[in-house]
């Protein structure tokens, strides 16, 4: 695969320490497109060895609006089925430029390790000194040991090491869309983290046409339904939580976006500093980046103050546990004290909800945001959401942004695929690829 690709699939056997590479075949891309299309195919190939697959969408890391998505696919400890989890911020983009399109991780390491992917090189490194530390300390330690603060990490904390079904693979210091317990899968493999740094280059089949189209789409989107909105609080408002902005406003520092995503889906709150501070805070850990809308909403509706809710979310990210699951179980028990909720992490168990029949993370709200997508009524949301998420996970579009930008149509995705790769994708093939990943 010559375009929008590094043309490499990496296979890492943690049991033997062996690393090998395959080429990314044009035919596979023509049929499966990218993202979950190919991670699903790779899962089927290696399913006897309980693999966990990392990948990026076909458009991830390009100038196409919203192209921030990386994907993790594995069998969920919580459902027993193959499911898919998004990772965004800058990690999806960074993965795309590591020099690998997909990474298949099989086997179990004899000792704790982390996988270091950079510039087309993969190293299995000793993580014994990180084992037992929380998510934040692990990311700090990896960045310090490599001397690069821009390294992105997919990392587990104590929850994953201890085999909790609620364990989450976090991104750097923050939550991710892993609502499937993939943190436990990492832990079972003695895999503490995957560290990503990409300085690669992606060629484009028809660069001028591709970039022209990116700018055209961007111009259309920029004045679209989400114009003037930002952060998790405006998403909550769009979901009907009318007082969300007022609730959290005293703590909001800034909003930030995942890679090339025109809507800033992340809200940073300061808990130990004045949120109005503009200079670099002296406090090393002044607050927390909220990127899990569902968790925040559940905690709010359970009656927690904004400060308490944010303290819970921060504790979840350090421990590496799914904040949506914690929020749901805490709400069910009636517990509102953030310290007591944190103390419950060690033994926390329980059944939590997942998208109906879904393979995609409920991290993306199951409804249109700001725009109406011409849906007749709420009964149409379910099928619409699954297809929309499938599209996002194939092409590498931020899955929350996909729900607020109807301009990112299937026809447009097909056009971008063809301009970017020089291959010929049809609507029929796209329909089949979506059907394959939704089965």
């Amino acid at each position: 695969m010559d375009y929008l690709s590094s043309n490499k699939i990496l296979i890492v056997d943690l049991e033997t320490g062996q690393i090998s590479e395959d080429e990314l075949d044009d035919e596979l891309v023509s049929q499966k497109i990218g993202g979950v299309g190919i991670t699903t195919s790779l899962y089927e190939t290696y399913q006897d060895r309980d693999p966990i697959i990392l990948g990026a969408g076909l458009l991830t890391g390009t100038l196409f609006p919203g192209s921030a998505l990386g994907v993790i696919s594995a069998k969920s400890p919580r459902t027993g089925h193959v499911t898919h989890s998004p990772f965004t911020l800058k990690a999806g983009m960074e993965f795309k430029y590591t020099g690998f399109d997909y990474v298949v991780i099989v086997g179990k390491s004899k000792k704790p390790v982390f996988l270091w992917l950079h510039d087309g090189v993969a190293d299995i490194q000793d993580a014994s000194e990180f084992w037992g530390t929380d998510v934040w300390n692990t990311t700090d330690s990896i960045r310090k040991s490599m001397g690069d603060d821009l390294i992105q990490t997919l990392v587990i904390g104590p929850a994953g090491e201890r085999g909790s079904d609620l364990a989450q693979i976090c991104v750097n210091y923050w939550a991710s869309g892993d609502c499937w317990g993939f943190g436990k899968v990492f832990g079972e493999k003695n895999l503490k983290a995957v560290a990503l740094r990409g300085m690669g280059l992606l060629e484009i089949s028809d660069p001028e046409d591709f970039v022209d189209q990116c700018f055209e789409v961007f111009e259309t989107i920029k004045g679209g339904a989400f114009a003037g909105k930002s952060g998790v609080e405006d998403i909550l408002t769009a979901m009907g939580e009318k007082d969300a902005k007022e609730w959290i406003a005293p703590f909001v520092h800034r909003h930030s976006a995942c890679y090339n995503t025109p809507y800033p889906t992340n809200t940073f709150i300061y808990l130990n500093e004045n949120p109005k501070t503009l200079t670099e805070p002296t406090e090393q850990e002044p607050g927390f980046l909220i990127n899990d809308v569902g968790a925040l909403l559940t905690l709010k509706r359970a009656g927690l103050s904004a400060e308490s809710a944010c303290r819970v979310l921060k504790a979840c990210a350090k421990y590496g546990i799914d904040p949506s699951a914690v929020a749901e179980l805490s709400a069910r028990s009636g517990q509102k004290d953030p310290d007591k909720i944190e103390q419950s992490f060690v033994d926390l168990k329980g059944t939590v909800s997942a998208p109906e029949g879904g393979k995609f993370s409920s991290w993306a709200p199951m409804q249109p945001l700001f725009a109406d997508f011409d849906l007749s009524d709420e009964s149409a949301y379910g099928d619409w959401w699954v297809r929309r998420q499938a599209l996002a996970y194939l092409f590498g579009i931020h899955p929350i942004f996909a729900n607020m930008a109807p301009e990112l149509s299937e026809e447009l995705m097909i056009e971008m695929f063809n301009k970017g790769t020089g291959l010929d994708l049809s609507q029929e093939t796209l329909d089949q690829a979506i059907a394959d990943v939704c089965l």
Binding site: L202, F215, S230, H255, S256, C258, T282, E285, P286
Partner: protein, 126 residues
């Protein structure tokens, strides 16, 4: 004409950085960009933008804009805080200076691609 950045508007999406990289390489890559989002202090939510120009570095921080003449050593500020831009894979000083996307039909691509209009083209040289 030169590029101006309002760091308070910036959402750190890096679209400007990738657009600049495309201008340099006719492909998607970040190593040659002369506009860079500094984002290493993510735990503090402290981010902004650095632009390499012919004779200066423009550093757009949340608290304001600073223009540093390349090659001129300055005394450290009274606050004693680390003020330089974060190290990146390819040091800023080794990168090509901004040419306002000379030869590109779009004009300066970072201005065009910024979703929050944090980047603009203003009158005046360095």
């Amino acid at each position: 004409m030169r590029i101006d950045v309002d760091a308070l508007k910036c959402i750190g999406c890096m679209a400007c950085e990738m657009a600049c990289g495309y201008h340099r390489d006719d492909a998607f890559a970040l190593l040659a960009s002369c506009i860079v989002v500094y984002r290493a202090r993510d735990k503090k939510d402290y981010f902004g933008v650095v632009i390499k120009e012919e004779e200066s570095l423009t550093i757009a921080r949340p608290e304001g804009l600073e223009i540093k003449r390349i090659g001129v050593t300055e005394e450290s500020s009274d606050s004693g805080q680390k003020k330089e831009a974060d190290a990146s894979a390819k040091p800023m000083l080794l990168r090509e200076p901004c040419d306002l996307c000379s030869g590109m039909k779009y004009g300066p691509m970072c201005v065009k691609i910024c979703p929050v209009d944090a980047i603009s083209l203003i009158e005046g040289g360095e």
